[in-house]
Amino acid sequence: MTTPNADTRRRSTLRRLIADPQAVVSASLLVVIVLLGLLAPVLSDHGADEANLDAVNAGVGDHGYLLGGDKSGRDIFARLLYSIDTSVVSALIGTSIALAIGITSGLVGGYFGRRVRGVAEWLFSLIMTFPGLLLLIVLMPVTKGDYKATMIVFGVLLSPGIYRLVRNLVLGVKNELYVDAARVSGLPDRRILRRHVLTVVRGPVIIATAFLAGSSIAVQSGLAFLGVGSNTVPSFGAMISEGFTNLYEEPLQFLWPSLALGIITASLVLLGNALRDALEGGRPKPARIVTATAYRPPATESAVSGLLTVDDLAIAYPTPTGELKEVVSGVTLSVAAGETLGLVGESGSGKTQTAFAALGVLPSEAVVTRGSIRLDGRELLGLSERELRAVRGTSIAYVPQEPMSNLDPSSTVGAQLVEGVRAATPMSTGEARNRVLALLARVGIPEPERTFRSYPHQISGGMAQRVLIAGAVASRPLLLIADEPTTALDVTVQAEILDLLRDLRREPNMTVLLVTHNFGVVADICDRVAVMRAGTVVETGTTEELFARPQHPYTRTLLDSILDETTLRTDPPATPAGALETEKR
């Protein structure tokens, strides 16, 4: 594909490589080393196997031997140069065999049907079961120790890795729309493979090639070290082995080949990593589990009062260029004890970020640039993770949007809830278990005992959301923050979860901050509403006021859009949320 776009991308990859000192240094080292190997006959007057009995263990520069002689009187410098050739040939054979087998079968296995893939899969896992080096040694009678034949076998042993790489890439791209389109438009498979699939495979394969070459050279040296193959073939491994036996008397004889081998394999690995960075973007950085809130607000009295008061809160994220981009800019809102506040706005308006800031669980890249968040008069911004832990669960709790991804897939529902209850309130496991079972019954789970023992994948989405609500209210928090608690659920389940929330709201002292984009839900259970747009609150008021007399044009647009939906739709079950049905009751 030579669209201008692909061309510029390729050029920028190249530019990134040239700008990366790691890539430049390792690539130039490799080029120099290969050149040295190719020019061996020119650079050295001696052959690799030319022995001069006077020059046994000769010192540096003696007898015209630049780096001295080995214990058989051969020129170490010449042997080093010719060993490069052996390494290059090994790398070429090993990688080309692995690539030829791996890419071909990966393309075929990934692109064509399940049956072909099954056979390929089975064959390659058969190859992978056997320890490579052991097989190479076991097959010595067959390869006669010849290093080229050995490298052919090694190439076959390396091919499963390439096969898997290519197969996964092809499977990934196969169902992409443009490949589908190409197939529908009648392009032959061969051309689709060449034009669309190979472009995807190219990058990762180039990276893998550097590593393949490295391991081919390492294995060839390892085998030569063991003494596999003819001792007339100059090889770093053989030189290291001879140097090793002579280590005490002549350590330099050991040092030179080790250094050469070390530099070559290290350069290949570093080059591979640099290629990976350039072609696939950097490696992932760890996100510290603790939110980094560098900002500590000044201890001034807040103008607004309530159980939760958020004052002029601003949250920013660093952009790739290093500047900070605000996603929340100056949010002010307050939730009075016992009331339910709906925080409404379209996606991306900063609702969830505001909720995460109140819980102290913003991603670690996020920066709170100004503002204050108080819970029952206590400033939450700037608290340490340990201090926040004491607040969470007991004072403030959270119901997430997507139920399945918010449960740990490897622990039972019961274990997760019991751990949360015990973390917030000290009590015995037995007591915690009883409380959790009672709660599961309270949130409307028909068989609490069974759900308690279940793993998340064994329960339905609606059940999972009930479990999460139970987890949130388990330690009787003052404030419940629910982030779009019904969005990810089926319409009928949505109605049930809303019923449950409405029901919980009636419990004494339950204060709820409900994040939603659905005015139906707001009308259903909220006392007051705050409308957010582009990182700020544009309008606040009681639910009645806001529905009757929306002040801000944005609020009016939002309200109009839901009215349109209800008036246009004539088929009741398909209304966007169960909430609209309850509105009619």
Binding site: L126, T129, F130, P131, L133, L134, I137, V138, L139, M140, P141, S221, G222, L226, G237, I240, L247, Y248, F254, S258, L261, G262, T265, A266, V269, L270, R283, P284, K285, P286, A287, R288, I289, V290, F356, V361, P363, A390, V391, R392, G393, T394, Y398, P400, S405, N406, D408, P409, S410, S411, E419, G420, A423, A424, Y455, H457, L468, G471, A472, A474
Partner: protein, 314 residues
Amino acid sequence: MTVYVLRRLTAGLVLAVLVTMITFLLLSTSFDDVASSVLGNGATPGQIAAQKAQMGLDRPLAVQYGDWLSHAVRGDLGASYFTSEPVRSAITARLGVTLSIVVVALLATSVISVALGVAAAARGGAVDRFAQGAAMTGYLVPSLLVAIALVYVFAVRLHVFPATGYTDFSENPARWASSIAIPVVALMMGGVASLTSQIRGAMIGELRKDYVRTLRTRGIPTRSIVLRHALRNAAGPALTVLSLEFIQMLGGALIIEQIFALPGFGQYAFNASLQGDVPIIMGISLFGVLLVVAVNLVVDLLNGWLNPKARIVS
């Protein structure tokens, strides 16, 4: 559960038959050399043919393999062409040495990699840079060179550990430990590098997941979230890497044994292979496959314990 284990073991046996069959077919191309190496230098083609006939190497391959297999099933792996030593007892005697270093290296690799990978992912910063640096060093330096450097420093210069030789565990546990210390460290380098990177990556992925945030909002301590929840979810793929690492180490042990003059599996295989001692080579292949099958089974069972979705219901 039992049914699952039995099914896996059966599949393993089928694999063992296949691998030994392929090995045998490949070896069969060199039977002439085998016969001539038994006879020594200067054997005439006639003598070689006679020797092959005497060793039964002239029979149809299927018959020869069937013969080997029927004996192998009964635990008889034949005897060395050259020393007449029974193969099975020779291998089991040497297996202990190889397994000592491989198993210890594997355990140490898991412990170090989990500690480094988890700390790097959960703490970031300097710890992360150290872990990445350590992994990079493990990738960059060929283990052959590490082994020799360790011998030079600790055995030759400092005399902390013996340079070569092996003491059996039953004989003297302390001596055993010091005789395998350097080989184990040399064998571990590559494994620690790849497993640490794997665990670091998987943990970074896990710690970014939604359930971690939700657990935090319940007031659960960070330590428990990292170790009980995230690590458990990240451990599955790491176990797979570990089983591949075992196969690698089994191969790497061959070189290590040579350097440290350890009387293991590797040297035995190497010498047998140099001479074309077919019964020994066949025995080694069989043991190699069975070891890998056993380790893979253990890894799959551990995986089932870690990951409820992969758990077998039967």
